[in-house]
């Protein structure tokens, strides 16, 4: 695979530079580390910091913004940021009302954010953590807190950002974010691999007639290899997993996110969406809002995920709140 890049070792530096060049009015770089912060945050409010390995663009940098995260701490491609980076971003955002870390639940991220929060506490910055664990393919329902975080990051950051924007306390913002995570369920499917910048081989091999059902966003294997199927059949099988797991029933309200993984086109996502809506309608579930986009990608990986956020009145308020970044709008 060809990649449009310069030296492998400069990928992150240049990616962040390109982001700041484009959106300098609203974002600034955190000196010396791979972090960015949103410029226009209220000093009296809680800050949300997100982050993780790079390579999933527009996550995580694109989810700093109005009503979203205050900053993003980035690692290299698919590698959690180091504690230093997280700490510097923590010091760069408004932190006197405390800081909530939100990131996908991966060992590397947990270790580094935990270490950073020890360091932050030593500098008298109060921190909390919510680990996003929405991927139903990655652990059983009983072990929800062990699940991987995939596109569900979007809903958790959205809810937390809105709660912070509303002026809630650190504990309350944390509670809302945890509740959003509790109510968020996703499942993905991969049809072709992506390639990390600088690597020659794709992340995995997938025969032309097969797909990986339940694939993770770093190419982690899923539940099973399956024969390639139609969009309708895929949607059906994915919804079966999701609805059972999310305990969604007739009369419930939900927000749907169809998230492309990289090279899967908007056309394909819309085709899947058509079937998802048909099924949810048939089951009596009210789709409160739908977003069809590619927020959480894995380079040029082919495939997509479906995420369902089950709403209650409280979450609806925070979901509805305005939010803006160059890559997310509400």
């Amino acid at each position: 695979m060809k990649k449009i890049m310069n030296q492998e070792e400069n990928v992150m530096e240049e990616t962040l530079q390109g982001f700041i060049d484009a959106y300098a009015a609203d974002y600034e770089r955190v000196d010396g580390v791979n972090g960015v912060i949103y410029r226009h945050m209220d000093p009296d409010k809680v800050s949300v910091i997100t982050g993780g390995g790079a390579g999933h663009e527009p996550l995580f940098v694109g989810f700093a913004g109005k009503g979203l995260a205050s900053g993003a701490a980035m690692g290299n491609v698919f590698a959690a940021p180091n504690p230093d980076t997280i700490l510097e971003v923590t010091k760069a955002v408004e932190n006197k009302a405390g800081v909530l870390y939100i990131y996908g639940n991966y060992a590397g991220d947990v270790l580094n954010f935990d270490m950073a929060s020890e360091l932050a506490e030593m500098e008298d910055i109060e921190t909390r953590t919510v680990k996003v664990s929405d991927d139903v393919a990655s652990a059983s329902k009983e072990n929800k807190e062990e699940r991987r975080g995939i596109a569900g990051d979007v809903f958790v950051i959205k809810a937390a950002g809105a709660a912070a924007d509303a002026g809630l306390s650190l504990d309350e913002v944390t509670r809302i974010a945890a509740k959003a995570n509790e109510n968020t369920h996703s499942i993905g499917v991969g049809i072709s691999p992506g390639t990390s910048p600088g690597k020659k081989a794709p992340m995995f091999e997938l025969p032309d007639n097969q797909i990986e059902f339940g694939l993770g966003i770093h190419g982690e294997k899923g539940i099973r290899r399956a024969e390639m199927m139609s969009a309708d059949d895929l949607a059906d099988e994915m919804l079966d997993h999701l609805l059972a797991d999310a305990a969604l029933e007739s009369g419930d309200e939900a927000v749907i996110l169809l998230n492309g993984l990289g090279s899967t086109t908007l056309m394909e996502l819309l085709i899947v969406n058509q079937k998802v809506h048909k099924e949810l309608l048939a089951k009596g579930i009210t789709v409160y809002d739908t977003d069809v986009n590619s927020y959480c990608t894995t380079q040029e990986m082919g495939g997509f995920s479906i995420t369902i956020l089950k709403l209650d009145e409280e979450l609806k308020t925070y979901y509805d709140a305005p939010a803006h970044s160059p890559y997310y709008h509400k």
Partner: protein
């Protein structure tokens, strides 16, 4: 001239030995990456190599008074530069082993056993993993156990390290039988069986290259 065996490491010996460890890691970048790719996300080689480049640079440009400083600096540089699970885990392994120990300017194999015991305890505490979780601990734990049980023996450093290296390798082999519980791979369940753990492989490489360096600098 009779072959001279090495029983003690000076501050500079430790520095040179860790530089050699760094070279080995850098040279094994693709190998480690491929192992991680089988059941993880394929970045372990890049991560370890980044850490190695960073600590080698720092070691080369610094003067050290104590062995503790050499280990601590090595670990801190890894922690700062690497990111990923292994940044913390291997950073902790190098930096925290000497944390509870008094400053030393020379160590023998007993000293080495003390350091790596500290490493093992710190890594377990930090990562909340234990033997059988299919992590680098599956290689580090048996290596430390041999170091400790060999501490009372009249062996050369090479012999002791060779023994630890073998124990680490057996640990790597054992990870193939285990279903992963930690790291990104943990969620693959049964499908991780048959594949060795990348981090455990790095531990083995570290012991192997320490042994090689000592062996090469004997006599």
């Amino acid at each position: 001239m009779e072959k001279q065996t090495m029983n003690h490491l000076s501050v500079d010996d430790v520095k040179q030995m860790l530089l050699y460890v760094g070279e080995t890691i850098t040279a094994s970048k693709d190998y480690l990456g491929q192992i991680d790719a089988e059941i993880g996300d394929g970045d372990h080689g890049t991560g370890m190599a980044t850490g190695a480049e960073a600590f080698m640079k720092k070691l080369r440009e610094s003067e050290f008074e104590t062995i503790n400083d050499v280990f601590k600096t090595t670990g801190m540089e890894m922690m700062k530069s690497m990111g990923g699970a292994s940044g913390i885990i291997f950073g902790t392994m190098f930096s925290d082993g000497v944390k509870q120990l008094e400053s030393k300017s020379s160590i023998d194999h007993t000293g080495l056993a003390d350091i790596f015991r500290g490493s093992l305890d710190s890594v377990k505490k930090r990562g909340k993993a234990d033997v059988g979780d299919k992590t680098m601990i599956d290689a580090l734990d048996p290596a430390v156990q041999t170091l400790e049980s060999d501490a009372s023996k009249e062996w050369t450093l090479t012999e002791v390290l060779k023994h630890a290296e073998e124990a680490a390798w057996n640990g790597v082999e054992e990870t193939k039988q285990i279903t992963a519980k930690h790291g990104r791979a943990k969620t693959l369940g049964e499908r991780t069986k048959g594949y060795q753990d990348a981090g455990a492989t790095s531990v083995w490489l570290i012991f192997k290259s320490m042994r090689e360096w000592v062996e090469q600098h004997e006599g």
